[in-house]
């Protein structure tokens, strides 16, 4: 209870208070009412990239979440099917999750390198011309989403647990009824996994809307260079934008307001998912 008050409720409520103030961390906060919220939404002189960051984040969420879930499910199905060496593969597929974000960023900067990158070499095998992934505005979000899918280990483990939870008798019954593997997957396995998918969808969307560490390390590149969100702000996610205002441009009040706008948005999105997405296994 004390933990809840000190570390969760108090910071959240003070952030709410500061979102109604003009505060730079150093001087006393001045009450400005709803001005921060209004300026964020309508004043493109003060916050020229607010809507850009919203757009970037939504695009990222729309690409990264399905890609992550699909990859996780595919990996879980493969792991579930093999009998020998499954522990080794489980470890390998889970490794990206426990790797430090800074190392992940460094590795992927290298993989996406326009001259030496393995991604381009791989595409070259199929005759696809190399791309300048992290410096072409249109390619930045897909490139980031792909890294997220690569890090899908936790979703994969949860899917694997879900697959293990499907009773063998159901599968066997389907086989006896003459269902092909594809039919078995779409008619039996996937519907049985619906609660798992729903859980991963909700948590995945929440995580994607808050993506920060990955873009930060990818675009800072460890060179101590300032992070302005990639070429033409194409990688300026909402939380990176928030971070810049909080700690680089000294507008903590506005940053608190941004965090509450995000909070409300996440609540709405989550409520909508609960209302419209099927959650029960069938």
């Amino acid at each position: 209870m004390a933990y809840f008050i000190i570390f969760l409720l108090y910071p959240a409520l003070s952030a709410l208070y500061y979102s109604f103030t003009d505060w730079d961390l150093r001087t006393d906060a001045a009450w400005v009412g709803l001005a921060n919220y209004a300026d964020l939404i309508f004043d493109d002189v003060k916050y020229p990239h607010f809507w850009k960051s919203v757009q970037v984040t939504l695009q990222y969420t729309l690409i990264a979440v399905p890609l992550t879930l699909g990859t996780a499910l595919a990996q879980a199905l493969l792991l579930n099917a093999i009998r020998r060496g499954s522990n080794v593969f489980r470890l390998l597929l889970f490794l990206p999750v426990v790797t430090a974000e800074a190392a992940v960023g460094a590795i992927w900067r290298w993989l996406y390198d326009p001259q030496y990158g393995l991604v381009n070499s791989f595409l070259g095998l199929f005759g696809i011309p190399g791309q300048n992934w992290l410096n072409t505005p249109e390619l930045v979000i897909p490139a980031l989403a792909f890294i997220a899918a690569w890090q899908c280990g936790i979703s994969m483990i949860i899917y694997l647990a879900g697959l293990k939870g499907i009773p063998d008798s159901i599968r066997e019954a389907a086989i006896i009824d003459g269902a092909t593997p594809v039919q078995r997957f779409w008619r039996v396995v996937f519907p049985m996994l619906r609660p798992t998918t729903f859980y991963l969808l909700v948590t995945g969307v929440i995580a994607a809307l808050q993506v920060f560490g990955l873009v930060y390390v990818i675009f800072s590149g460890g060179g101590g260079k300032s992070v302005t969100g990639g070429p033409e702000q194409s990688g300026l996610t909402y939380v990176l934008h928030l971070y810049l205002f909080a700690f680089r441009y000294d507008a903590m009040g506005a940053a608190c307001a941004m965090s509450f706008i995000l909070f409300v948005f996440i609540m709405i999105i989550t409520a909508l998912q609960f209302k419209f997405v099927k959650q029960e296994a069938s």
Binding site: P114, N132, S226, T228, M252
Partner: protein
């Protein structure tokens, strides 16, 4: 129920513990202790230099200096949080563009008259501490960017913009897989270097006294157009590769003295030289480096200023600034030790003589990142002309600052 009681008790104990941490400890010891915040050491040797300076100062003054080292990327975040929670250091490093913000809202102290002899410091470096004609700190070290060139492609470094353009064109023409030069990008870093180019055409970014934006005038447009003109002979697909210059994929780049050591260390075979930035009408450059300030809410202001004067005096400033990766700001120190810098550093020393401080506006970082950087990017990507990009950026800057000029 029992669990809830223990929980509450633990919470209360925790609160008391937190309060105790915030409270004052022994007053006598406090008067003789100074807390100094700085960036984390770049090398172990740098740590030794700082340690030596600290113990000497402690012995000479009978005090304790507590040095807190923080990674550069986290520094401003930590400092902001410390100030907000009232646990500020007494004295510490502050990024140059932050000095005006912190000075205007009273977070840092004005330097008392007579603390140091102002003439002992390079003017450009000292001016990065000046807000409304008052000094709010001392420059610990300063630095500038210069032109790095690969001797394989560039026999003699270009002095003017025309020579630079011819040379990049020739490098790329001779071998289409080699870029003429790593052209800076429209990001925060590129926007930081750009004022030096503008100054090379005889311009500056703003006129703070008359509240006028100047970067959309001809020198600014020419400076941006220079980068646009260099791009065709310096394709991004080559220069965006990691360490393109170091790997011999690009003939030239603009960077700072820290890369001299990095390249020698990691690419010992690369034959490169450094030269002052090419210019249009006059030699010029930008300035960077570290300033140190005394915080208003810190203790022992007198001792703090003494410490800063000690770090920047002619005896110590060379050693310290070399450890930090920059150059001495103390003229006597720089002149006495000029020989210790070696030929690769000469170009930077040249640049520092003509380096100009950034506008001392509290909003400058935001303008740099959110207005100038995107303007540079939109011109470089060919979406608009240099003039349009800068006129547009100037209008946005005026609106943000509430200026009319």
């Amino acid at each position: 129920m029992i669990r809830r009681v223990t929980g509450t008790a633990a919470g209360v104990a925790l609160l008391i513990g937190l309060a105790a941490c915030g409270g004052g400890s022994d007053k006598a010891a406090e008067a003789k202790t100074l807390t100094y915040w700085m960036f984390q050491d770049r090398t172990p040797q740098a740590g030794e230099v700082v340690e030596k300076l600290r113990t000497d100062f402690e012995k000479a003054n009978g005090v304790t200096v507590k040095i807190v080292k923080i990674p550069k990327d986290d520094y401003n975040t930590k400092l902001g949080s410390a100030i907000a929670s009232g646990s500020v250091p007494d004295v510490g490093i502050l990024d140059q563009p932050l000095v005006s913000r912190y000075a205007l809202d009273g977070t840092i102290k004005e330097m008392p008259a007579g603390t140091v002899d102002e003439k002992a410091y390079y003017e450009g470096a000292l001016n990065t501490n000046r807000v409304n004609d008052k000094l709010y700190g001392l420059p610990v070290d300063h630095t500038a960017v210069a032109l790095f060139y690969n001797k394989k492609f560039v026999p003699a470094p270009p002095k003017t913009w025309d020579e630079l353009k011819q040379m990049t064109a020739k490098i790329h023409q001779d071998d289409p897989k080699t870029a003429g030069m790593v052209v800076p990008k429209g990001d925060g870093y590129g926007a930081w270097m750009w004022p030096g180019i503008v100054a090379g055409a005889g311009g500056s970014l703003v006129d703070e006294k008359d509240k006028k934006i100047l970067f959309d005038q001809q020198p600014g447009v020419d400076a941006l157009q220079l980068w646009v003109d260099l791009l065709p002979s310096s394709p991004r697909a080559i220069t965006d590769s990691d360490k393109a210059f170091e790997n011999g994929l690009a003939g030239m780049m603009i960077s700072g003295p820290w890369d001299v050591a990095n390249i020698k260390d990691q690419f010992p075979d690369l034959q490169f030289g450094t030269a002052p930035l090419p210019y249009k009408t006059q030699p010029a450059g930008n300035i960077g480096g570290e300033n140190a300030v005394v915080f208003t809410k810190g203790k022992n202001a007198d001792l703090a200023w003494k410490w800063l004067a000690y770090l920047t005096n002619s005896d110590n400033n060379t050693k310290l600034s070399q450890a930090l990766g920059g150059f001495p700001t103390n003229i006597a120190a720089a002149e006495r030790d000029a020989a210790t810098f070696g030929p690769d550093q000469a170009a930077f020393l040249e640049q520092l003589k003509v380096a100009q401080a950034r506008p001392a506006l509290p909003q400058w970082i935001q303008i740099n990142d959110e207005i100038i950087a995107p303007a540079i990017e939109s011109a470089l990507s060919g979406k608009v002309t240099s003039q349009q990009a800068l006129s547009d950026a100037a209008a946005k800057t005026r609106a943000l600052l509430g200026w009319t000029g």
